[in-house]
Symmetry: C2
């Protein structure tokens, strides 16, 4: 069964950890035949059991893929890879730049066996430029990209953002680049190699802050805790609730008036201290304190429902346990509860890409190391045991 | 001039702010003919001058697009849109779910004029499910998705991540979904409508933390400041430098030994308190304190170069001003310094998607409101003035 917009596309997947595997996960979910090629012992994420928690990341990112083992340092297995490449559409890797060349698997070699093969690379800094060879991981790219410089309390130290956003921004951009190359090739164009660097993939998400820097220069506030990055919107913050916290944004006067009414303080709507955005911003400490005193008395879900009904952007700050169990995500089949054949009960995501007429699902859960070894083509057309 | 893998693809772009415009920006950079259709007065981002800093976000996300104005609440302009839709490949919007229907521009209506049109929608929570109609903005989705619950100091309040990661994760996923649909259509498949929800697009970036939650249950640490999310890697932190901060990760014993040698403390390599990862983790406070005392004496760039040369993942925590001026990003043409015809000197990004054989560039800088109004098709084949 291979329904889906990428049905019929064969992908050789040499990727590891998060960046590359997320790109090929989305390809698998869209119907591609993804053959995950791991070194003996398995890719790093499969082997990371000592840390705790490695089982679920592997399962989350490898649904719907086939799994084979090749030792690319061995001549025989490299030859097997090249035989497979002859019949594939895409080869993806996220080794450090230069590794493929050293393995004897340069783009030229790969194209020698298949001029129609699209070669795709993900890395921290890209295959060119002065930073090419620096070791990169999500935390490190968060530092290099400036993400940390704008995360944290005003006056406090730089902080990492909790999510592995550099890894995953790179992975989804890599997906986009690959499918774009497939489209061009399908139209009769060349099989163009593509690459994505983590540092470049995360940069656009800094747009607001870059703009404020350009505008304010040395007065750029940098870190602002949960306040607006430019300190120019109020109320805009995370406020305490009786049972946690809520995020509230009043982007314009209408939002503010609706919020004041909801909290039973309609008398403040005409208060000159809070009349226009510039007034509210000038009295930010005062107003944030008042809003906090209102929210602290109510449960977060009640505030959320009340303000949302009034059209004010608001949400409870949810713990991950609440997110995993979220009825909306389950109803939409963005998340599925499965009984994994190796790992037991778990909640895993499907693709965030929704295609009309195709129900979201996993195809199959992540598979054991080498489970599809028969797909490795051995000389003389025989397949491996 | 329309070189690029998406050359020949025509996109009607009704999007606003960040999410949709980032998707269509990447399409324009890849060579598509993107016609940005704005309401009278311009889309919200163009009008957000009062906040300061709105000029640059608009310029960053709208290079290479054509700009026309249509009032979709007016019958005549709706008719003009439908005439344009008859000859387009893709129509993208990121209104709140239901708005297109209320405008009389449902998928059925659009397909009535062009069965080959790919309709694409970006929204906070998606076009179905119980949260469909909640107002969503980046801060709010950071709260709903659990991003805030894992960002911040241990024991401190939940914090937003500085970047607008929910908006941009949604935008790049939307790009991926659209190009996937274009590929399927090109192969003879249907013109499938696609959609992406911000909440679902950010979820995979939580993989590590979700895994730790599944593994540790009520012992899940939640926020850990700059330490490893599972508190199971050390050294792993942001440490003070003489002139700022550095991020350092020692993912295995080899990294640690190389770091200890670099800092002139090879004698600690055999110290039983730091021998294996479990030892270092057990003595995390002590070791983090020692590393901090070493780093505090040195400039961040010197530590970066020294550790990187030793193969240890490391980076300076850079301020945004350093990132904008980064020689690596400029050398790779990921960033360009331009003289914008409306806004003057600025630094803007090109696409993070690199295609072999195509030099990255802007095609052209963002254009004034209605600059390409001649593209609007008026009745009888005449085009508007």
């Amino acid at each position: 069964m291979s329904a889906g917009p990428l049905a019929g596309v064969t992908v050789l997947d040499l990727t590891q950890i998060y960046n590359g595997p997320y790109a090929t996960f989305l390809m698998a979910m869209a119907g591609a035949e993804v053959i995950k090629i791991e070194p003996p012992g398995g890719e790093q994420l499969r082997r990371r059991h000592g840390d705790g928690g490695a089982t679920l990341p592997f399962a989350m990112l490898n649904s719907g893929k086939r799994c084979v083992v090749l030792d690319l340092k061995a001549e025989e297995d490299r030859a097997a890879l090249l035989r497979m490449a002859a019949g594939a559409d895409v080869l993806v890797e996220n080794y450090r730049p230069g590794v493929m060349d050293r393995l004897g698997l340069s783009r030229d070699v790969l194209r020698g066996v298949n001029p129609r093969l699209i070669c795709a690379s993900g890395s921290g800094y890209g295959g060119s430029g002065p930073y090419r060879d620096y070791p990169a991981m999500d935390l490190v790219v968060q530092a290099m990209s400036g993400v940390m410089s704008i995360t944290g309390e005003a006056g406090g130290p730089p902080l990492k953002a909790g999510p592995a956003l550099c890894d995953f921004f790179a992975g989804i951009h890599l997906y986009g680049a690959i499918v774009t190359a497939l489209f061009e090739r399908e139209r009769g164009g060349p099989a163009r190699a593509v690459e994505v660097a983590m540092l470049e993939a995360v940069y656009p998400s800094l747009t607001s802050n870059l703009a404020l820097l350009a505008d304010k220069g040395s007065a750029f506030p940098g870190r602002t805790g949960n306040r607006h990055g430019g300190l120019s919107v109020c109320p805009y913050n995370v406020y305490p609730a009786a049972d946690g916290h809520v995020a509230i944004i009043c982007n314009h006067d209408g939002h503010w008036r609706a919020a004041a009414r909801y909290f039973g303080h309609a008398e403040l709507i005409d208060d000159p201290r809070f009349l226009r955005m510039t007034d509210r911003v000038a009295n930010m400490d005062l107003l944030d304190g008042m809003v906090a005193s209102w929210t602290a008395a109510l449960p977060k879900e009640e505030i959320f429902q009340g303000l949302a009904a009034a059209g004010v952007p608001c949400a409870p700050v949810r713990e991950l346990a609440e997110v995993v169990a979220d009825r909306h995500l389950h109803e939409r089949r963005a998340l599925l509860d499965i009984e994994h054949p190796q790992f037991g009960a778990m909640t895993v995501p499907t693709s965030a890409l929704c295609f009309e007429g195709i129900e979201r699902g996993l195809r199959w859960p992540s598979r054991p190391l080498g489970a599809d070894q028969a797909l490795v083509q051995r000389p003389g057309g025989e397949e491996s045991p």
